[in-house]
């Protein structure tokens, strides 16, 4: 074999070995490094959840599978249409008791009355009522997490709903409420929030999915990267469901320039709806 050929074969072999090594290193960097080492942390070593977050899905229309559909208020056209989305429920379907499923279907029929008045059979979002948990998380509005070692506050842009989540001293609710009573703790890099003492007036979505005042929600916020959280909510309510069930969705950090929550004080937005029949002049706004 001429020496030039031998030399060339050796060079090609060496190049191949180098290429394989480089690929192997790159592959292991992509696969082998745990994402937990890339998430931001507070000075006490916990994942840093501070910031403004938002879900990017259509769960607020319906937690379960839902195709495109026209709005029940026909004049709103494509603007008011139901945007399609796949189920965020593990296993796809919510395990209703039979009689509870009938009530859900009734809720769905009355969810958008399309007429004036303070109609309590409507979706609570129509009336600008507080959204409850977990619905606050996937409303089409951002929310902001404020984190300190002892307590976390979450403020939602929708009606400035807000939650105090103590991390050090679990306590019992004095009475039921719309947003429930939250106690939090860390399990590794996951923030776990136990929420109880709900009233029975909130829904999970615009499609009439609902619960009773026996609702118990366990939320889990797990960072995936600096800009992504995985959100899980386990829902337990033996009066309405045959077993506990879970929803899962990613949450995205809003990184828009100077992003901040703006006022969405919706009581003002529904005054004409609720009170229009009792005024005698056209409001200036």
């Amino acid at each position: 074999m001429p020496s030039v050929v031998r030399w060339s074969i050796a060079a090609i072999a060496a190049a191949a070995v180098v290429a394989v090594i480089i690929l192997a290193v790159a592959w292991s960097a992509a696969q082998g490094v745990p994402p937990q080492s890339r998430i931001p942390r507070t000075l006490d070593g916990k994942p840093d959840l501070n910031g403004i977050w938002q879900a990017m899905n259509t769960a607020n229309y319906d937690l379960e599978d839902h195709g495109t559909a026209p709005s029940s208020v026909i004049v709103t056209g494509a603007v008011g249409a139901i945007f399609p989305g796949e189920s965020v429920v593990e296993g796809g379907r919510i395990p209703y008791r039979p009689e509870a499923l009938a009530k859900r279907d009734g809720n769905r029929k009355s969810s958008m009355p399309g007429k004036l008045g303070r109609i309590l059979e409507a979706d609570p979002e129509v009336n600008c009522f507080l959204p409850g948990v977990p619905r606050a998380t996937y409303l089409p509005h951002p929310f902001q997490i404020f984190q300190s070692p002892k307590v976390i506050w979450i403020v939602y842009q929708y009606s400035y709903a807000r939650r105090e989540i103590p991390l050090d001293k679990p306590s019992k609710a004095p009475i039921e409420s719309w947003m429930g009573w939250s106690n939090g703790h860390w399990e590794g890099d996951t923030l776990v929030v136990d929420v109880t003492a709900f009233n029975d007036l909130t829904w999970f979505d615009r499609a009439g999915n609902y619960h009773s005042d026996a609702l118990h929600v366990i939320e889990r916020y797990t960072p995936l990267s600096a800009n992504h959280l995985m959100y899980e909510a386990r829902i337990e309510d033996p009066q309405v469901f045959t077993r506990p069930w879970t929803i899962t969705m990613p949450l995205y950090r809003r990184i828009d320039r100077n992003v901040r929550l703006l006022e969405f004080k919706c009581p003002e937005v529904v005054e004409e709806l609720h009170l229009g029949q009792y005024r005698k002049v056209t409001p200036s706004q």
């Binding site: 997490i145 300190s148 719309w178 901040r260 009792y278 005024r279």
Partner: protein
Amino acid sequence: MRLTLAFLKEQQNQQEKPMMSHRGFVLVAMLALVTAVWLAVALVSAQAPAATPYTPPTSTYNAPRTPWGDPDLMGVWDYQSVIHMQRPDDLVGKARFTDAEYEAWAKANAPNRDTDTSQGVGAYNEFWNARNFLKNYNTSLIVDPPDGRYPALTPEAEKRRKEIVAKAREVASWEDYHALERCIASQTPNAPQAYNSGTYIMQSPGWVLIVRERLDTRLIPLDGRPHIGQNIRHWNGDPIGHWEGSTLVVDSTNFTDKQRGGGGSGASVPLGIPFGNFHLTEHFVPVSHNRIEYYATIDDPTTWTRPWTFNLPWERDDDYRIFEYACHEGNLALANSLRGERVQEAEAARKGQVRK
């Protein structure tokens, strides 16, 4: 002044000439106009020297720090006060109480919590209000102007105020009610109220969150960003903040003119004054672990003839847990009140009367 002398000299020169040329006439007229404007400006500024806003004292207390190095004011604060916004007439000329004078005045002016209901119980029975008045030797919350009273309104603002107050009596729509009665917002800045004034200060790197139990939530960025655009208006304004030593300074603009139904519970501003042009500067001055001296300065030359400042002490209350307020969700009073007005109007019309 030089301009005036030059003008007079020019005038003398012109007078010495038998006839004034067209160009000279124009020149004199222009100079006269300039001088008139200059004199007018000088006169106005001599009459109303621009008052400089009040400068709150700096904090001598070195607050503990958060893990990320900001002064740590976190926790629940409350600000019940028996001292009124304005100095009472019988205390004219007296800015401060002695301790004994304060105790006597507070005792005489505390709300009646007697269980004797023969004199009526008011809108809410004071017996049920958990009052914890903070000691404050100032005889008014307003500390500037020094007379402890709101400064005079501009003539236009006074005219507008009267119109709004007169219209509010018509109860023609929800717009004639205080934003609080509509469950939208209280006033920022906030004055004392009978209940639910517990206020949580929460902090995270680059932010301060102020949660008032009753309605209002303020999210205050500390990163030096500008205010939101002029076309976005908020009931509680758009706040941006920074630290000066241990003092939190918050600058708020972008208030909505719809915030105008003052005078009620927690209101720092009287009824009939739209907030649209307010420039609010707040100083949260911690003076001990348990006390913040809160100063709010409002500057709005379209409304008041000078800026003014009130000072309200805040006290830490570790036993106060903020609870959900859920105001709008149960607010049937607004609908019932409006409906009652319409019913009474209809009845009056049926009897051939005009309801006043």
